[in-house]
């Protein structure tokens, strides 16, 4: 049990730290051009989950298949899901303009 849990602890702490960074950026007065910056900690989280938690480098094809499936399903959710708000005629989504 201990051998399983101990290597995962820093991964979990890392995820929490990145989460704190994400929350923090929400309060920074970043302009519109920098809005994409918020994706950086998210990408780091994905990396941590993939290589720290799932250890994709170490385990074989099946683990990688499942990791890819997760990404694929996320694309389905965001892709098919954004189809509606961006083409809606009643109550279209307001494009937020940053100060």
């Amino acid at each position: 049990m201990r051998q399983v849990v101990r290597p995962l602890l820093p991964v979990w702490l890392g995820l929490l730290a990145l989460f704190a960074v994400e929350l923090g950026t929400a309060f920074l007065p970043l302009g519109h051009a920098f809005a994409g910056l918020i994706l950086l900690p998210a990408a780091a989280m994905v990396g941590l989950v993939g290589f720290g938690f799932m250890r994709l480098g170490r385990y074989g094809a099946i683990a990688r298949c499942f990791a890819l499936a997760a990404v694929f399903w996320l694309l389905v959710l965001l892709g098919l899901g954004s189809m509606d708000p961006f083409t809606r005629t009643e109550y279209p989504v307001r494009v937020t303009t940053y100060p």
Binding site: I62, A69, A70, W73, V76, L77, L80, G81, M83, D84, P85, F86, T87, R88, T89, E90, Y91, V93
Partner: protein
């Protein structure tokens, strides 16, 4: 009972000799049950819990049907009625249908069917049951304390800004039980990948395992989205963070997107295991190899995948864009293809078979018919034009009850009767089994067929009162619900009776193929005395000509 499978030796062994040690009589203390890691005992713990939830949800339904006997509402106020249908939906969906077959029959059968000692993670399996119970108790406690009036779908902004009642506690209960789903799905997938007996290749696995695998994929990929959605809902309700509430800058339709991204695949969580059970029963009771094995199993997988692409069909009249509605309509039609292939394959299996109408088979045949009815009426709802008229009417209610109750609950009872001898070591009384199966079929149709007509005539769902011209059909429906209620109570009594006084079951009462029938009934704690080796494809029943010849030679009238 089964007369083809019992050899005289087996019969003697099962009735005269005291039964050998098995998972039921090995240890008897309460702690040995509550702390067990045996998948078979955990399955029984789940059996007990979901039976309780089934009757709680059923009681709410009974009160609703009673209320609808008169146009102005027979017993309860509109407010109470709202809380009743919410309770019925929440309990039936999350605490009966979503777990039902996988955690009971699946939990019990997976290791037995692949020739393993237990699931891959026995302790996680026990933890899943505790999570399920904690979630279930929190939710039902909140529902009994006064509940909530949003319907099981928790639509915002009703749920976040206006609803009076226990929105957050019920959501917390569902959130916790979601972890049970995820852990169960993970456990099943790893078990099927890693613990198959020597020779048990993927294409030698029974169809039930394929469908549980597909279900597990949905458990693992969809449930987290529900968890996030409920968490956001709770955050908005408690901290007023604007996610869904338009007055706080949120988008209420976003809630529906996220909710149905889970809940439509969850429909397949509910029906895929039922399809698996039926695919086990039909070959056994028609003595035929399943028709188109590879089509059947890959259809399970493709149903699981496509189920994630169709959620927008719940929102055709919610103000979503026409473009997305057209695409979701098209994608929804896609799901009907693998479902239809399965139906044709079950019928193909029956063709030229030696069909026996034992109780499990009656349930399975009922499933095929009622599932087909439910599926075909789904096409009317997937079509944009007709859905605009039928949305939120009793047509929708009838449609999904044909799938969920006519389909899934029938399959659950079919599987329960089919594996009852294996699980308990006792035969159920066959005559009562057949009577109950027939009554469920009849009562079900009487309850829900009138609702198709009511919906077509325009009666909206979720109202406690209705115009007087709808009364005849509503009374018919309530009458059917009475028969259905009696039919659901019957197995409780005769199955309970059989636990003590039923005839002892031999190892393989149905003469079925499959590893689970090669070990004793009930199995010993470690399932098999030695690891079985698989050498042939599943459902390897003799060709019809051979059975014919055998019967002629033995002088039996054919």
């Amino acid at each position: 009972m089964s007369d083809i499978a019992l050899t005289p030796q087996e019969l003697e062994a099962s009735t005269i000799r005291e039964r050998p040690e098995n998972y039921l009589n090995e240890k008897l203390s309460l702690a040995s049950w509550l702390l067990t890691t045996d998948h078979k005992r955990i399955a029984l713990l789940y059996f007990a819990s979901i039976t309780v939830f089934f009757f709680i949800g059923g009681a709410a339904a009974a009160l609703m049907r009673f209320n609808l006997l008169t146009p102005d509402g027979a017993i309860v106020s509109p407010e109470t009625y709202n809380r009743l249908f919410t309770m019925h939906g929440v309990v039936m969906v999350w605490f009966f249908l979503v777990p039902a077959v996988p955690v009971t029959l699946g939990n019990f059968m997976i290791p037995l069917m692949i020739g393993a000692r237990d699931l891959a993670f026995p302790k996680i399996n026990l933890m899943s049951w505790y999570l399920f119970m904690i979630g279930g108790v929190i939710s039902t406690w909140a529902l009994f304390m006064g509940g909530l009036d949003t319907g099981w779908t928790f639509y915002t902004p009703l749920s976040s800004a206006y609803a009076r009642g226990y929105v957050v506690p019920v959501a917390v209960g569902i959130f916790i039980s979601g972890f049970s789903s995820i852990a169960t799905g993970l456990n099943f997938m790893v078990t099927i990948h890693r613990l198959r007996a020597p020779g048990m290749t993927w294409y030698r696995m029974p169809v039930f395992l394929w469908s549980l695998y597909a279900t597990s994929v949905i458990y693992v990929l969809a449930t987290p989205v529900l968890a996030m959605t409920l968490l956001l809902l709770a955050f908005e309700t408690i901290f007023r963070i604007g996610v869904f509430d338009p007055t706080l800058g949120g988008d209420p339709v976003l809630f529906q997107h996220l909710f149905w991204f889970y809940s439509h695949p969850a429909v397949y969580i509910m029906i895929l295991p039922g399809m698996g059970v039926v695919s086990e029963i039909i070959p056994v009771f028609s003595r035929r190899q399943i028709f188109g094995y590879k089509f059947v199993v890959w259809c399970s997988v493709s149903i699981a995948v496509i189920s994630f692409f169709v959620w927008g069909h719940h929102m055709f009249v919610a103000g979503t864009s026409l473009y997305s509605a057209i695409i979701f309509s098209l994608l929804s039609f896609l799901v009907s293809i693998p479902s239809a292939i399965k139906v044709f394959n079950w019928i193909g299996t029956l063709h030229k078979g030696f069909i026996r109408f034992d109780a499990p088979m009656i349930y399975a045949l009922g499933f095929v018919g009622l599932f087909t009815m439910g599926g075909l009426t789904g096409l009317f709802l997937a079509s944009l034009a007709s859905d605009v008229a039928l949305h939120d009417t009793y047509f929708v209610v009838a449609h999904f009850h044909y799938i969920m109750v006519g389909g899934m609950v029938s399959a659950f009872f079919g599987g329960l009767h089919y594996w009852w001898p294996k699980i308990t070591g006792r035969m159920y009384p066959e005559m009562w089994g057949r009577v109950a199966a027939a009554m469920i079929f009849f009562g079900f149709n009487l309850t829900f067929f009138p609702q198709f007509i009511l919906g077509f005539l325009g009666m909206p769902r979720r109202y406690s009162v209705y115009p007087p011209e709808f009364q005849v059909l509503n009374v018919l429906s309530s009458a059917g619900a009475t028969i259905l209620a009696v039919a659901y109570l019957m197995p409780l009594f005769y199955l309970g009776w059989s636990l003590f006084w039923g005839q002892r079951a031999p190892a393989n009462p149905w003469g079925a193929t499959g590893l689970e029938w090669q070990t004793q009934s009930p199995p010993r704690t470690e399932n098999f005395t030695s690891t079985p080796v698989v050498t042939e494809a599943p459902y390897n029943y003799p060709p019809p000509e051979a059975i014919q010849r055998e019967k002629v030679e033995s002088g039996e009238h054919v």
